[in-house]
C-alpha cells in the first residue's frame, strides 16, 4: 500500500517538475525566437549573418547531447549548473532556434504590400516593423505554435537523462520499485498526452479570439 502511495507522490512531483521545466524553457525559447527572428530581418549583413549561424548551429545539434554537455561538460569551464537549470537553458536554446524559423516564416508571410502601404503612409522602418508587421506576424505564428509546444513537451522528457526528477525520470523509478510496468507507463503517457492536448487547445483558443479578422481562421474547424 505504501508503495502505491509513494508511487502516486512520485508521479505527481514528476508532473510538477515537467510543467515547470516546460513553462520556463518555453518562455526562454520564445524570447530567443523573437529576438533571433527580428535580428535575421536586419539590414546589417553582420547581424543577420551572426543570427543565422546561431540558429543553424542550434537547429543542427542533438538536444540530448546538448543537455548532456551543459550538465557534464560545462563544469570543466568552471560553470556548474543544476540539472534543472541545464535542462531549461538547453531546451530553450534549441527550441529558441527552431522557434526563430517559425517567427521568420510568419513575418515573411506578411506580404510586401503591407510594407508598401506603410511606407506610402510615411511610417519609418522601425514603426512599420513593430506597429504593423509584428502584430500580424504574432497571430500568424499561432498555428505552428501548437506543434512547437508539443515538440518542447516531448523535449522535457529528455531532461530525465541528466537526472532532472521530471515525469519520465520518476516513472522509471516507480516501475523499478513497484514492478507494475504497464499501468504506470500508460498513466504517464496519458498525463503527457493530456498536457499536449491542453496546450494545443489553449493555442487554438487564442487563435480564434485574436485571429477573427483573418479569413484563414474561419476555415479552421
Amino acid at each position: 500500500m505504501d508503495v502505491l502511495i509513494e508511487a502516486r507522490w512520485l508521479v505527481l512531483s514528476g508532473t510538477i517538475v515537467t510543467l515547470r521545466v516546460f513553462v520556463l524553457s518555453f518562455l526562454f525559447a520564445a524570447i530567443l525566437a523573437l529576438l533571433l527572428g527580428l535580428l535575421r530581418q536586419s539590414k546589417h549583413a553582420l547581424v543577420c549573418g551572426a543570427a543565422t549561424c546561431w540558429v543553424e548551429f542550434f537547429r543542427g545539434v542533438s538536444t540530448v547531447v546538448q543537455l548532456f554537455w551543459l550538465y557534464f561538460a560545462l563544469p570543466f569551464f568552471g560553470i556548474s549548473l543544476s540539472a534543472e537549470t541545464a535542462a531549461i537553458i538547453g531546451l530553450g536554446l534549441v527550441h529558441g532556434a527552431y522557434g526563430s524559423e517559425v517567427v521568420r516564416g510568419a513575418m515573411q508571410s506578411i506580404g510586401r504590400d503591407q510594407w508598401e502601404a506603410a511606407t506610402a503612409l510615411g511610417y519609418s522602418r522601425r514603426q512599420t516593423l513593430f506597429g504593423i508587421i509584428m502584430p500580424q506576424a504574432l497571430i500568424a505564428m499561432l498555428p505552428p505554435l501548437g506543434n512547437s509546444l508539443v515538440l518542447l513537451l516531448k523535449g522535457t522528457s529528455i531532461a530525465s537523462i541528466i537526472t532532472v526528477p521530471e515525469l519520465t525520470f520518476q516513472s522509471a523509478l516507480v516501475v523499478n520499485r513497484t514492478l507494475a510496468v504497464v499501468p504506470i507507463f500508460i498513466c504517464v503517457l496519458l498525463i503527457y498526452y493530456s498536457i499536449a492536448i491542453a496546450a494545443t487547445w489553449i493555442v487554438r483558443l487564442l487563435e480564434r479570439k485574436l485571429g477573427r479578422w483573418r479569413p484563414q481562421t474561419l476555415n479552421i474547424r
Binding site: 543553424e56 548551429f57 543542427g60 545539434v61 542533438s62 538536444t63 540530448v64 547531447v65 546538448q66 548532456f68 554537455w69 557534464f72 561538460a73 563544469p75 570543466f76 569551464f77 508539443v150 513537451l153 516531448k154 522535457t156 522528457s157 529528455i158 530525465s160 537523462i161 519520465t168 516513472s171 522509471a172 516501475v175 510496468v181 504497464v182 507507463f185 504517464v188 503517457l189 503527457y192 498526452y193 499536449a196 492536448i197
Partner: protein, 221 residues
C-alpha cells in the same frame, strides 16, 4: 581547458560508434517509411470507426515522448514473454513513432496534388490503380521530400536516447569514456560536433534531392 590530444585519442572509438548510430537511423527510417503506408490507408478508410481510431492512436503516439515509449516497451515486453535486444527494441519504437509522423507527411503530400488532376483522370477513364501509380504518386513525392528529410534528421538526433536502454551508440560511448577517465568535456564535445556535422550534411543532401527531383518538368515551383 580542452585537451586536444585526448580528444584525438578517443576519436576512433566515437567513429566506430557512429556507425551504429547511422545504421540505427537508416534502418528505423526505412521501417518508418514503410509503416506510414498502412497507417495512412487506415486513416483514409471508409469506415468511420477505423479511421477515427487510427487517427487517435497516431495522434497519441506522436504527442507523447519517445523516451517513455522506449522505456515502456523495454520494461513491458519481458512481462509478456517477449525478449528483444535493446537494439531491436529501439528500432521497433523508432519505426512506429516516426511511422506515425510519416503517415501525416504522406497525407499532406496526397492533399497537395491538385483536385483537377483527379478530375482529369476520371474524364479519361483512367483506372484507380493507374491513377495513383502514374499520376498521383509522382506528384506526391515532391512535397514529401523536405518533410521526410526533416524527420530523418530528427530521428538521427534522437538516437542518443537509446543510450538509456544501453544501446552502444555514440552518446553511450562518450558517456562511458567520460565516466572512465573522469573527463567529460572532450568526449561529449566531440560527440556533439559529430552530430552537428552529420546533420548539417544530411540537410544539405536533402535540399539537393529536393532541387533535383522533377527539375525538368517543374518550373514555377
Amino acid at each position: 581547458m580542452f585537451d586536444f590530444s585526448f580528444a584525438a585519442s578517443i576519436f576512433p572509438q566515437l567513429a566506430v560508434a557512429a556507425i551504429t548510430t547511422v545504421f540505427v537511423t537508416i534502418a528505423s527510417f526505412l521501417f518508418a517509411l514503410v509503416a506510414g503506408i498502412p497507417l495512412l490507408l487506415l486513416r483514409r478508410s471508409r469506415w468511420q470507426i477505423v479511421s477515427q481510431t487510427t487517427t487517435a492512436v497516431v495522434d497519441f503516439i506522436r504527442c507523447t515522448p519517445i523516451l517513455v515509449q522506449l522505456y515502456f516497451l523495454y520494461f513491458a515486453m519481458p512481462e509478456f514473454g517477449v525478449r528483444l535486444s535493446p537494439l531491436a527494441t529501439g528500432l521497433l519504437v523508432f519505426s512506429v513513432h516516426y511511422g506515425c509522423y510519416m503517415s501525416e507527411v504522406y497525407r499532406a503530400g496526397l492533399e497537395a496534388v491538385p483536385r483537377g488532376q483527379w478530375d482529369a483522370c476520371v474524364a479519361l477513364s483512367l483506372p484507380r490503380v493507374e491513377t495513383y501509380r502514374s499520376i498521383v504518386l509522382p506528384q506526391m513525392i515532391y512535397p514529401i521530400i523536405p518533410a521526410a528529410g526533416n524527420y530523418l534528421v530528427h530521428l538521427f538526433k534522437e538516437t542518443p536516447l537509446l543510450a538509456s536502454i544501453s544501446v552502444v551508440e555514440m552518446m553511450f560511448v562518450s558517456a562511458e569514456i567520460g565516466a572512465d577517465r573522469f573527463r567529460y568535456l572532450e568526449p561529449i564535445t566531440l560527440c556533439g560536433l559529430l552530430f552537428l556535422i552529420m546533420s548539417i550534411a544530411a540537410a544539405g543532401l536533402i535540399r539537393t534531392a529536393e532541387f533535383f527531383y522533377g527539375r525538368h518538368w517543374r518550373r514555377a515551383w
